[in-house]
């Protein structure tokens, strides 16, 4: 399904190294509310979604999240490229350096490795879409935590961009939920699960 274009969605040009900042930022790669979690969540959920438009949205947003994890990795890479030994010993980054040098590996700021436990693909239309709404809020809040503590403008610009994308995605998942509701009976949306109880589905 994927071709790629050899540029980031938003340019990343960071001239000043900072391994401490890298430790903060890496959570949006491999952390529980990061872009890898988001992309795997949406790209996993799309298969059992019976409505083409909603499945399509999951693919489109899931794809955008892959582009975002790439931006996060670019930021971490540029913050740690050509690190001296002294810089590698920066408190907070030093433990990561021992296992990865300046390689990029998906983990949270606190060191917890990325795991599928950090997302769900429930196979239920409403559970999945509400999970997605929550995921976008968590990602937004994480970017805000980062923005409070980062002063380098070259880092802030792509982070501000990425944070705003979460607000937009939240709106789209909400609209997708409305589109699912539209196909069901408003007297009781939970009467059956359109992803599993196929015999209940009327012709769309």
């Amino acid at each position: 399904m994927w071709n790629y274009e050899k540029r980031l969605q938003f340019p990343v040009n960071i001239k000043k190294k900072c391994p401490k900042t890298a430790q903060y930022i890496i959570s949006q790669y491999g952390g529980p509310d990061g872009e890898l979690s988001a992309s795997m969540r949406y790209l996993s959920q799309r298969y059992s979604m019976p409505y083409n438009d909603v499945g399509g949205l999951l693919t489109d947003i899931g794809t955008e999240e892959l582009a975002h994890l790439e931006m996060i990795c670019a930021i971490v890479h540029q913050l740690t490229d050509n690190l001296t030994v002294e810089e590698a010993k920066t408190a907070g980054f030093d433990a990561y350096y021992i296992d990865h040098a300046t390689g990029i590996w998906p983990q949270a700021s606190g060191g917890i490795p990325f795991t599928a436990n950090e997302f769900q693909s429930k196979g239920d239309a409403f559970a999945d879409l509400v999970e997605d709404l929550a995921a976008e809020q968590k990602a937004r809040a994480t970017y805000e935590n980062i923005l409070r503590v980062i002063e380098d403008e070259e880092v802030r610009k792509p982070i501000i961009f990425l944070r705003e994308r979460e607000v937009v995605h939240f709106q789209r998942f909400g609209e997708a939920m409305e589109r699912v509701k539209f196909r069901l009976d408003s007297k009781n949306y939970y009467f059956f699960n359109p992803e599993f109880d196929k015999q209940m589905m009327q012709k769309q």
């Binding site: 540029r7 340019p11 990343v12 040009n13 489109d60 995605h169």
Partner: protein, 89 residues
């Protein structure tokens, strides 16, 4: 020779707007105004990508033109190396 910075700016600007419009159209498939805007931007982006490939290097595999000799796909600097330093936002 088209200005590299101008071309890249056009590619970044139109491409992002197309991305944002795509998500909007996914949930508003009948919005004719959005669709008109989408097609206009798609046309601008296509032109910019093609011009960029001719004068600099291909950004997508579809951009690889028949005129060039050899495998030019590897000519592109990796974007995470800050290769697009022309584009300052």
């Amino acid at each position: 020779m088209a200005d590299k910075t101008q071309l890249l700016n056009e590619i970044y600007d139109t491409s992002f707007a197309i991305n944002d419009l795509t998500l909007y159209l996914d949930t508003h498939p009948d919005d004719t105004q959005a669709l008109a805007e989408f097609h206009q931007l798609k046309s601008r982006r296509k032109t910019a990508l093609s011009t960029f490939e001719q004068e600099y290097y291909p950004l997508t595999i579809d951009c690889l033109s028949d005129n060039k000799n050899g495998w030019t796909w590897g000519d592109t600097p990796a974007p995470w190396k800050g290769g697009m330093t022309n584009v300052e936002l």
